[in-house]
Symmetry: C2
Subunit: 333 residues, 2 copies
């Protein structure tokens, strides 16, 4: 089988061949085709800039792969500041011996996700390291996009009285990776939620919703985002456990393996803080879109219980919802 060689990352003839035969073919656009050390962009105005490295294992999982994740994850970080999908960079670190077909499948997924997002990959870097120096392939993507709201959504705009929404059912991505690692076959029932959040953000902006803060609930899940918001704002976040949308297979897996869905990673779900008066309008917009049909009101921001996340449990009691702790699930994204 055709496998990636060290020489394809050396900067010489074989590197050039890999770049032109694989990357330029899938990511073809006029900026990238200039083949310079840095791409030139004509963006202007207020810009958002973000980066993420993707180390997920396994590389391919139900509903996605590391390539789709690397594009969607970084564009989602831009969207959380109301930035439209714009220009992306990609840095590949490939283990010598990776099947070429795997790399091509990943690159193909990236190209498809970019096309769906109407974004461009404008610069890249490829390293090939000796066997054992990295596990198969890691991808970094960084993104630059134009901010659409002034001010951009941010924690500093969260205020007492705001409502808190979640854009869909939680924990799918974490559950899919966990199931794959445990060798459980849940293909038919359970897919990652990995999806672009921009269409939802865009629809809310177009409707005049005041997006105080947005955050995609990746590593550490919903619990981590809520705690970060509570800590940064000094306000109290009140959550109704029963309102958290959790699909049946995710709930089942959590019970089986002893996790909580709100600690699990998502790759296409966001928390939204917004004025309470706009909740109904926002939910009705979100529920019309494919990936946010399960969008729900989950709680609100109060001045009481400063810096804490308080959860009203399904049993009617209250408890503090703490930061997720410990190893959680390494290489979830």
């Amino acid at each position: 089988m055709n496998r990636i060689q060290l020489s394809q990352g050396g900067g010489g003839l074989e590197s050039q061949a890999l770049i032109s035969q694989l990357f330029y073919r899938y990511f073809n656009n006029p900026i990238l085709a200039q083949a310079e050390d840095a791409a030139l962009m004509t963006l202007s105005g207020s810009l958002a800039f973000t980066t993420d490295s993707y180390t997920v294992s396994p590389l391919f999982f139900n509903g996605g792969d590391i390539g789709k994740l690397a594009v969607v994850g970084t564009l989602n970080d831009l969207a959380m500041r109301s930035a439209r999908p714009g220009c992306l960079s990609a840095g590949f670190i490939i283990e010598e011996g990776l099947p070429y077909a795997d790399l091509e499948r990943i690159v193909g997924s990236m190209a498809q996700a970019l096309q769906q997002a109407n974004a461009q990959l404008v610069c890249g870097d490829t390293k090939v390291v000796p066997k054992g120096a990295v596990d198969k392939v890691f991808i970094n993507t960084s993104g630059v996009g134009q901010v659409q709201c002034q001010p951009a959504p941010g924690m500093n705009q969260i205020q007492a009285g705001d409502a808190l929404l979640i854009s869909g059912d939680i924990g799918r991505h974490g559950a899919v990776i966990m199931a794959a690692r445990e060798g459980l076959d849940l293909t038919t029932e359970l897919q990652t939620d990995c999806a672009l959040l921009w269409p939802q953000v865009d629809a809310l902006i177009q409707a005049g919703i005041h997006l105080h803060a947005l955050r995609d609930a990746t590593r550490g899940g919903v619990a981590a985002v809520l705690n970060e918001w509570a800590q940064a704002t000094g306000l109290g976040l009140w959550i109704e456990e029963a309102y958290l949308p959790i699909s049946e297979p995710v709930q089942g897996l959590c019970e089986l393996l002893g996790f909580e869905a709100y600690d699990l990673a998502n790759e296409g779900r966001m928390l939204i803080a917004l004025p309470k008066s706009q909740v109904e309008q926002a939910l009705s917009i979100l529920q019309q879109l494919t990936d946010s049909q399960q969008a729900a009101y989950i709680g609100e921001v109060r001045a009481a219980q400063p810096s804490r996340v308080v959860m009203q449990t399904a049993w009617g009691t209250q408890r503090i919802l703490d930061w997720p702790k410990g190893e959680l699930l390494p290489r979830i994204c």
Copy 2:
């Protein structure tokens, strides 16, 4: 000894602690301190965007380390499009068990290099992967900077009659890494050339030099850049071997290990294509700056021998200088 734990990359409590106690402390600036998913920048005009992953082994070497390299390397890619050092992202992929002291030393180097460059680290990402999934630590940096020349230097501006300069003696970075791997102790004589190229580019721009094209000669060395330029322009590049500045320790090591200095990586040397009429002025500017005292004229661009790099050897004969081939030196940068 204090070592990095998996939990410090999980997105929970321990991740937050690592980020605030290490990264925010060293990279402290108002944009990063917002702690949002994407940083907001107020750049405008024509922008350059670039990315590089750094996998160098060993992590620490004569005259630098992976941290300095990760900042300087990416800012140099911006400088090659005449872009001033601007905003940087950093994505760390850390192996479980890495000594905390090593990570802190690397982060300290990055902070120092950023300060010297007058650049800011505005967003980042930290992953910790299980032992064996990555070798110690890999770093990706991406950069965005404002382009100063219109048009920006690029291969498409190289023309027959242009002169070719190199900004200093070649092959140091490759030689240092090679020596370290072979266990040769050349500490006193041989240091990496890893250094910021922006001061040189800026000085040339200020003096009104027409920078047709710039390219830092990293992986694949001077030979790779010259071949890329020849291939992209369809012009012939004529080089005088005797004009290539090579230090004695680099030359010695090349003879010992059977390499050519023009195939070795540099991390602070650039090729410059410019009008022949400005060669003397450009050299006199470069030779006054610390890191480019050895700047030299090395050849010119001609219409003859299209797409070829022709080298006039020290023996008076001519030969084709080809792309570097084969494995070269993995993990050189």
